[in-house]
């Protein structure tokens, strides 16, 4: 996995402990992050414009769900490949995978509980789309 989605270089840090001073550190740059956010917003706005003005042919709109799902699966497959291609990632999973998965589960579960606590306040007045 050589580059991530917000424009940062991904290099999972090398495991051998004790570590050399530090693994290669690409200092994150906020500007890169924000530029990508702008790109995402631009792409979605363009899509929203086309959707709003009904510029997408009806035939295509009908098939949109299927097309989207296929594209999604393709993206997920590519993401999987990029994980599998990176030996560092696979090796790190072998060593501290269990700890990482416990952390990931804990943060996911507590986030869900957190959002649950406020869900009614956010959605009631906004009137969730039926």
């Amino acid at each position: 996995m050589s580059s991530d989605l917000r424009g940062q270089k991904i290099r999972p840090p090398v495991l051998p402990i004790p570590s050399p001073p530090s693994p290669p550190i690409k200092v994150h740059n906020e500007r890169g992050v924000k530029m990508n956010i702008l790109l995402y917003i631009a792409i979605m706005l363009f899509g929203a414009f086309l959707g709003n003005r009904k510029l997408i042919p009806k035939v295509l709109m009908k098939k949109m769900d299927g097309i989207q799902f296929l594209c999604l699966l393709l993206l997920l497959f590519i993401m999987g490949v990029s994980i599998g291609l990176d030996e560092e990632v696979i090796r790190s999973f072998g060593t501290i995978g269990v700890q990482g998965i416990i952390f990931a589960l804990a943060s996911s579960v507590f986030s869900i509980i957190g959002v649950r606590l406020i869900a009614s306040r956010v959605l009631v007045k906004g009137g969730e789309e039926q």
């Binding site: 050589s2 840090p13 792409i43 594209c71 700890q99 804990a106 869900i112 956010v122």
Partner: protein, 198 residues
Amino acid sequence: MSITILLTVALGILSGIFIFPESLGDSMGFWISAGLALLLFFVGIDIGSNRGILGKIRRIGFKVFLVPLMVAIGSILGTTLAGILMGMNPFESAAIGAGFGWYSLSAIELSKHSAYLGTLAFVTNISREIIALVSIPFIAKYIGKLEAIAPAGATAMDTVLPVISRSTNAHIAIISFITGVVLSSLVPILVPLIMLFS
């Protein structure tokens, strides 16, 4: 849908390990970005064809920021508790949770402190992304649509957004994007900040 997602990711990982040559690794970032751009375009079309949706979001107002706030609190609390149970430093555990699923950045930040911590942050946050991809359709169906944003964390604005959009509706997709943007901006601030205490 969850099963299909899980199988697709697993199939991708396995073919990455066993089939594709490693030389392909350098171009993967481009293909992921390209695929993502296409999907976000579709999400945009969905949002655009739902008229009156912006009015609904405006009616929620500032309360929309309660979602990233609760996700942030939940993520950090979750890893802190799990860390204490596993006998780890609570602040280091909290910092890993503050990665919110953005694995590259949290791993880079934390590898400044130790390679072990950086690797753990990487594994944790990449697992979180995969857990989110697989569990969101379930959560949307059985727990709640707004709750479906929670496991995605910072990835609620990009990689996981298409899954959220598909499992919920255009309204939730917008809240999801906002949540992802807020959480993504918090990662580079919170992770180093929490590490100051460790």
